[in-house]
Amino acid sequence: MSLELRDIHKHFGPVRANDGINLTVEAGTMHGLLGENGAGKSTLMKVLSGFHAPDSGEIILDGTQIRASSPQDAIGHGIGMLHQDPLVFLPFSVIDNFLMQSPGGLRLNRRSARRQFEEVCERFQFSLDPSASTRSLTVGERQQLEIARLLWLGARVLILDEPTTGISAPQRVKLFATLRALAEEGMSVIFVSHKLEEVEELCQRVTVMRQGKVVGHAEMPTPASQLVEMMFGAPVQVEAAQPIELGDSLLRVKDLSVKERLLSIEALSVDVRAGEVIGLAGLGGSGQNTFMRAVAGLVSPAGGEINLDGKQIAGLPYRDLLDVGIQYLPAGRLEEGLVQGLSITEHFVLSNPDTPFFVDWDTAAEHAATAVTANFIKGRADSNAEELSGGNMQRLLLAMLRPRLRLLMMEHPTRGLDIESANWVWSQLLKRREDGTAIIFASVDLDELLRYSNRILVFFSGKVISEVNASDTDVEELGFLIGGKVRENQ
C-alpha cells in the first residue's frame, strides 16, 4: 500500500511541530524517518495514525484521500502505529490486550481470537502466552503483542516510533526480521529513529527532518556523513568558548551506578574542575539526565562515590545539596521548574533561602519587579508562571538561581528558545564560571555542545562511550558518536 503525505502542518501554539511536510512511502518498502529529538518525527507519525488532527494537509492512501480523526479510524484505513512505549493495558492479560480494539458488537469471541492470535504469533515466531499477564512481559514482548494486534486489525502501513529503545539485542534481531518479512508481503513500514545504524541496516529510503521540516530524502545506501549533515545542519564555523583558567578538581564521580526502569548507568566515572563546562551529548534518554539527577540527589544511586570538594555527597537529598552549592535546572520548565498558579513574585520568594517566616509582600513585589527588568523577562511581577513564554520561563529560572554556586547542572538550557534568548542564557551561564562554578549541561544541539563545552561526554545506553575535548572534534564526528558509531578511519 503506498502512502503520500501532502503539505502537513501541525502547530502547538507558537511551536511549529510540522511545517509543510511532504512524504511518499512506496508499497513494500521500509522507509526511515530520521531526525534529532524535537525534529517533528513523532508529531508527524501521530498525525498519520490519527492521534493528532493536522491543522492542514492531506493524507493519501493508494490514491484516495483519507481522513483519520482517531487511531480507530486510522487502523480502519490500515494505518497502525507502534508507540515508543507500547500502549498496552498492563493489568490485562495478553489476549485481552489483543482483543482491545477488536471490531464488532458487544460480544467478544475469545476462542477464535485466541486461534488467530496464535496464528499470527506462529507466523513471526513470537512466543507469547495468551493468558499471561501483560505486566510480566518485557518491553520487546509488549511490542510483539502490539505488532500482532495491529496486523490482526488489518494494518498495511506499520509505523514504528523508536522501536529499539529499551529492548534487548536478540529481540531487536527478531523485530527486524519481522519487519523485513512484512515488507516482503507488500506492507509499508515507516521506521522512525535517530539511530543511524539501524536505519542503514533496514531501510531502502530515508527522509530526514529538522525543526519541523523535511530537509531531504535519500536512497540507501547513503554515506552516514551525509545523513549526519542533514540531521544536524551543515557544519557551522564554531567559535571556541572563551578560554578560562580552570580551577582545582571540584566534582569527582567514581564508579557511579544508577538503576532505572529502562536504563541503567554502570561504573560511570568523571572528574570536573572548577570553572569547567561539561557538555553531555547523546540521544535523548541515554543516561545524561539520569547522571545529572543522581549527582543532584534527585535519584538515588545504586553504588559509587560522588565527591564535591572532597566531601562525599552521594545519597544526600537535593535540598541539602542546594545549601552546599549544587543546583539543577530541568528541561520541563513548567512541569518541574516552576509552579503553575504562582506569580513571579511568589517564585522569587520561594527560591530565596533567606525569606523570613512572615513574608513582606510589598518588598518582595518590588524585588521581583526589579529582577523582571534586570533579566529582561517579558511579564509582570504578578504574572503567573504559566503565562510566560518558554524563553521567559527560562529567564525566570535563571534569575532564581542561588547567587553563589559550586556546580550548576542543566537539561537542554536553550531548547525551544530563539537565538537572542539562547545567547542571553549562555552569557549568564558563562559569567558564573568566573566564580569557579562548574557547569554540566545536556543538549542535543551539537553546535551548542561544541561552542560552550570544554569537554563533551557522549552517552550511549547508559554508558559514556566517548569523551572528547570540544576543540578537537566537529559536528560530524559528534554526530557519529551520538549515533553509536565511531567514524571510520579516513
Binding site: 502547538f12 537529598p317 535540598r319 509552579v339 503553575q340 504562582l342 520561594l350 523570613p356 503565562e387 525551544g416
Partner: protein, 362 residues
C-alpha cells in the same frame, strides 16, 4: 473589578441552585416561597434559631478552615469526619477524668481535641506519604475506625451507669461544658475560637513562607522538590493542621453541644466542610459566609416537615445542587480559560480548577 469575579463565581451557582430547588418544590406541589420563607425564619428568624445556626456554623467553619490547608497542599482530606470524632473522644476523655475550673477545662479539652484530631490525621498522612495509600481511602478507613471506637467507648468502658445505650455517655461534669448565656445554645467561646481559626488560616496561607511553600507542594510536587522544600514534612504538617482544627471542632461539639460523647458527634458537618471549601474556591476568606449559608439551610430546613409536610431533605438537596452548580460553573470557566490559553501558548496547558492530588514524592 477584582471583587466582582469571586462574587459572580458564588452568586451565579447560588441563583441556579435556588431556581432548581423552586422547580423541585413546585413539582411536589409545595409553595416554594412559603418554603423558602420558612427556611429563612427557621434559621435566622429568632435569637434561638440564630443561636442554633451559629452552633452549626462553628463546626463547619473549623472543619473547613482545616480543609483549606490540606486541600491547598493537594491532599483530599476526606477523613475530616474521623478527625472530628477523634478530637471529640480525646476531649471527652479529658472532660471525664480531669476536674478543674471552667476556664482550665476549656483550654484542656480544646488542647485534647487538637492533639486527638491532629494525630488521627497524621495517621492518614503517614499512610499517604510513607505507605503510598491514597489519603481518600486512608481517611475513609480511619473514619470508620474512629466511629467504631466512639461506639465501643459509649457502650463499653464509658457506658452510662446501669444502662448501656448507644445514645451516648453520661453527661460531662458541668465545669467541662462550654459556657452559654441564658437559654441560647450557642457559646460565645466557640464562635470566637472558630473566627480566630479562620483568620489564622487566612494569614498563614497568605502571609507566611509556610503557606506559600504549602501551596507550591500542592500545585507541583516535582517543582517543590527543586525549590528545596522538604515535601514529606510539609504534607504531614498539612495533615496535622487540618486534623487539629477538625479535632477542635470535635471538642466544641461534645463540650458545647452534646455535653457527652455520642457516636456521631459531628452531625456530618465535617463532610459539609468539604463542600464549603469547594464552594469557597479554597480561599479561607470565603469560608465564614458560605458556612453561614450552609448552617442556615441545615437548621432552617428542619422546620419544613412540621410546618409544610415537606421532607427536611430539601435542605440537603439544596446544598448538593448548589455544589454541583458551582463545580459545573467552575468547569465551564476553566474550559473557557483553557481554550484561551491553548490558543496563545505552547503545549496546551491543563487548567487547574481543583488542587491536583499529588502523584508521588520525588
Amino acid at each position: 473589578m477584582s471583587w466582582m469575579r469571586p462574587l459572580g463565581r458564588a452568586l451565579i451557582p447560588i441563583i441556579g441552585a435556588l431556581a432548581f430547588s423552586i422547580l423541585l418544590l413546585l413539582l411536589v406541589g409545595a409553595n416554594p416561597f412559603e418554603a423558602l420563607g420558612l427556611l429563612v425564619k427557621g434559621s435566622v428568624g429568632s435569637a434561638a434559631s440564630l443561636s442554633d445556626t451559629l452552633t452549626a456554623w462553628v463546626t463547619m467553619v473549623l472543619a473547613a478552615a482545616g480543609l483549606v490547608v490540606t486541600f491547598r497542599a493537594g491532599l483530599w482530606n476526606i477523613g475530616v469526619e474521623g478527625q472530628i470524632i477523634a478530637g471529640s473522644i480525646a476531649a471527652a476523655f479529658v472532660a471525664r477524668t480531669v476536674e478543674g475550673p471552667v476556664a482550665v477545662m476549656i483550654i484542656l479539652t480544646m488542647l485534647a481535641g487538637i492533639v486527638g484530631g491532629g494525630l488521627w490525621a497524621l495517621l492518614a498522612g503517614v499512610l499517604r506519604v510513607y505507605g503510598k495509600v491514597n489519603e481518600i481511602f486512608g481517611g475513609l478507613g480511619l473514619t470508620f475506625v474512629a466511629s467504631s471506637l466512639a461506639t465501643y467507648l459509649i457502650i463499653g468502658p464509658w457506658k452510662r451507669a446501669g444502662v448501656a445505650s448507644t445514645g451516648g455517655t453520661d453527661p460531662f461534669p458541668r465545669d467541662s461544658w462550654l459556657p452559654t448565656s441564658g437559654t441560647l445554645r450557642v457559646s460565645i467561646v466557640a464562635v470566637i475560637v472558630a473566627a480566630l481559626a479562620v483568620v489564622a488560616v487566612y494569614f498563614m496561607m497568605r502571609g507566611t513562607r509556610f503557606g506559600l511553600r504549602l501551596k507550591a507542594v500542592g500545585q507541583n510536587l516535582r517543582s517543590a522538590v527543586l525549590f528545596g522544600i522538604p515535601n514529606k514534612r510539609y504534607l504531614l504538617l498539612a495533615f496535622i493542621i487540618g486534623g487539629a482544627l477538625a479535632g477542635l471542632a470535635g471538642t466544641i461539639r461534645v463540650t458545647g453541644f452534646h455535653h457527652k460523647l455520642v457516636s456521631t458527634p459531628s452531625g456530618a458537618h465535617g463532610y459539609l466542610g468539604i463542600l464549603i471549601v469547594l464552594l469557597a474556591g479554597f480561599e479561607a476568606k470565603w469560608i465564614a459566609p458560605i458556612a453561614f449559608f450552609f448552617a442556615a439551610i441545615a437548621v432552617g430546613s428542619s422546620q419544613l416537615p412540621l410546618q409544610m409536610g415537606v421532607d427536611s431533605s430539601l435542605g440537603g438537596i439544596l446544598r448538593g445542587v448548589l455544589v454541583l452548580f458551582v463545580l459545573l460553573f467552575g468547569g465551564w470557566q476553566a474550559r473557557r480559560a483553557g481554550t484561551r490559553l491553548a490558543a496563545g501558548s505552547a503545549p496546551p496547558v491543563e487548567t487547574v480548577i481543583l488542587p491536583a492530588s499529588p502523584g508521588g514524592e520525588g
